[in-house]
Symmetry: none
Subunit: 207 residues, 4 copies
Amino acid sequence: MVGSKRSAGDVATTGSRRRAELLAIAADLFARRGFVVTTVREIADAAGILSGSLYHHFDSKESMVDEILREFLGYQQELYAEVLREEHDPRTTITELVRRSFQAMDRYRSAVTIYQNEAKHLAQFDRFAYLRRAGNDFERTWTKVLQQGQRDGVFRDDLHVKIAYRFIRDTVWTTVHWYNPRGRLNAQVIADQHVTLLCEGIMAPRA
Amino acid sequence: MVGSKRSAGDVATTGSRRRAELLAIAADLFARRGFVVTTVREIADAAGILSGSLYHHFDSKESMVDEILREFLGYQQELYAEVLREEHDPRTTITELVRRSFQAMDRYRSAVTIYQNEAKHLAQFDRFAYLRRAGNDFERTWTKVLQQGQRDGVFRDDLHVKIAYRFIRDTVWTTVHWYNPRGRLNAQVIADQHVTLLCEGIMAPRA
Amino acid sequence: MVGSKRSAGDVATTGSRRRAELLAIAADLFARRGFVVTTVREIADAAGILSGSLYHHFDSKESMVDEILREFLGYQQELYAEVLREEHDPRTTITELVRRSFQAMDRYRSAVTIYQNEAKHLAQFDRFAYLRRAGNDFERTWTKVLQQGQRDGVFRDDLHVKIAYRFIRDTVWTTVHWYNPRGRLNAQVIADQHVTLLCEGIMAPRA
Amino acid sequence: MVGSKRSAGDVATTGSRRRAELLAIAADLFARRGFVVTTVREIADAAGILSGSLYHHFDSKESMVDEILREFLGYQQELYAEVLREEHDPRTTITELVRRSFQAMDRYRSAVTIYQNEAKHLAQFDRFAYLRRAGNDFERTWTKVLQQGQRDGVFRDDLHVKIAYRFIRDTVWTTVHWYNPRGRLNAQVIADQHVTLLCEGIMAPRA
DNA sequence: CATGAATGAGGGTTCATTCAT
DNA sequence: TATGAATGAACCCTCATTCAT
């Protein structure tokens, strides 16, 4: 959609299979090596073409990340919206939000890494203003649940909500840096471990 | 082509006041803008000199981060060693480790940010191999305490130590991204909030 | 920091017509002005392109001289090998070696000049270690013939072979500094004058 | 004299002992590493001072070579003039010229190397126009003797004087590249070997 | 769709030189 | 005399991007 070079009359604005392949290759490199240090030539090399040829598919290097991030962000937002529509009690909501975060991570691994690593840097450009908005949306989603939980007496009332939010966010998102989707621990397991740690802490339950 | 540089009588390693100033300026920029995207010209501009003049003090842009990171890492390692020498019980040890982490963050704010953001990228170069070593040292320190706590029955025994370590590390270190040292919440307060969340979780204590 | 460059599908080593042109331009400048003082901008200017564009064809300024020298050296070594295979008597061998030296000089004029002027300086870098090897090969070739000639009684036996070799080498190679391929004296004539001087000296033959 | 920073009223315009030391250090580096690639910092390092401090003694890096070359050139010209004043027969003159060349080489080793390597490059600047003049003087000196020798029938009459001159010059001067003043072969011996080779060639004398 | 050649802006770095102290 | 900090110009090289073929 964004940055597509297809003309108006095109049926499939999101482009061909080749496009998707290239995007996956780029996402992988951006995630592993960083957006700034990844050169378009590296992407092209990995795709087996010359760097100039990439410009038949994309307007610019920026438009590649743009597309990568938008797709992930849309997916994540939809998953969160789902949870909210289901109207669980606060603890279950938290649990579900964490689970869906890991679900998105499972599907858009590279994109999450990129978001985690580069959002702050990219957000300063107008083109990526939506990254700020998405961040704020996420914050609102989580803090609302936390506040509700406090009102219900289910979360500790000495909780500094903003800190707690960041605490949760950091833990969940940064998992992407070490989480190995092909390892023994699948997303579900890790998600549940996280929820437990989040809710009960590391201390052994007293009797 | 050639290689060596600086020799007898030169300042590059001696450390003068000016040097320290320049290093602080560089650290600030590296932290705020990222190491890769920060240009030596920006550093020089911020210092009110020409870019070439930086090379009177430093061998390269790399040697600047190098120095910045080494100083922080040395300090942090010393603080952790102190804690271990004090031989507290596991929970107190955790508490103290968290506190000293925030203490280091207070003193080497920019360095911590840089470490957080760039370590992974830099560590791939021989020159920064010590970043990997330091990371491993930190991991060992924390996991030992967690394991001891489990053996003592004070930490939950269904705890996946490696995950817990990363959980803690992520939460503590990424704080640097939003923690404002001039804000109302000082390092001590935030550290203690963290320990509470870490230990008891976000749930209200039962009865 | 990183290092590698160029990869699959790239031209850097393939050699196209444009490449050869650029190499010739570079060789000419390196020979006339010196490798160190010749800037890539000068080369690019002479070629009517921008300096950056050179890097579409070559990895570096160094790799340009490298290629220039290797080609000449390979040619010269082949010519010498030919002479040896022909198994002449010592004096004829010397004559032929001199002739082929001038032949190589005729074909790779700039390269010879560069070799003459810069080999010593370049050879100190690993990349150009082959310059030392080539030099040693040349020395071995010549000294063997000189020694054989002495054993045969055709060369004076008070000849200090190493000195004689250098004597010959210096005379032959440095010719490139003033030899004008478009002048009246062609390579053959000069070569023969050299052989005469080398063999009989400047004195008039006695009776 | 040239490039001196001493003021008009100074008695010793050539400067102090320190000056001479620095000049020797510079000459050594220029000879070994090349004028262009030798940095003023290297010179300063070798002298145990900072690069800026050199400018208390010399106007510029150029003025250093300038002084080095002028001194050698003056000496050499004087030696040649001496030979001519002695009015020997052609062969003896040649012998003496070669000997005095080696004598100058012995005394101004570095300067000769520099002259050999850099004269062509430096001569293109107005400041070093005297290098061209000196070169022409040398040529005139040698060719006159060669021509006289031909007229006298002592040198072969099929000798191409210009080629012969260059032949001699190249052999004599380039010796500096490998001649080791501390080796077994002293200047006198090498000079005489040279004269023999020059006059009789490498062929064994017939019967 | 892809290639191959080029652009143009900018990046890190070097180095002779200056000058107040 | 020497230091130490700085200048300013230039250098090699990188890289996203363009475009004729």
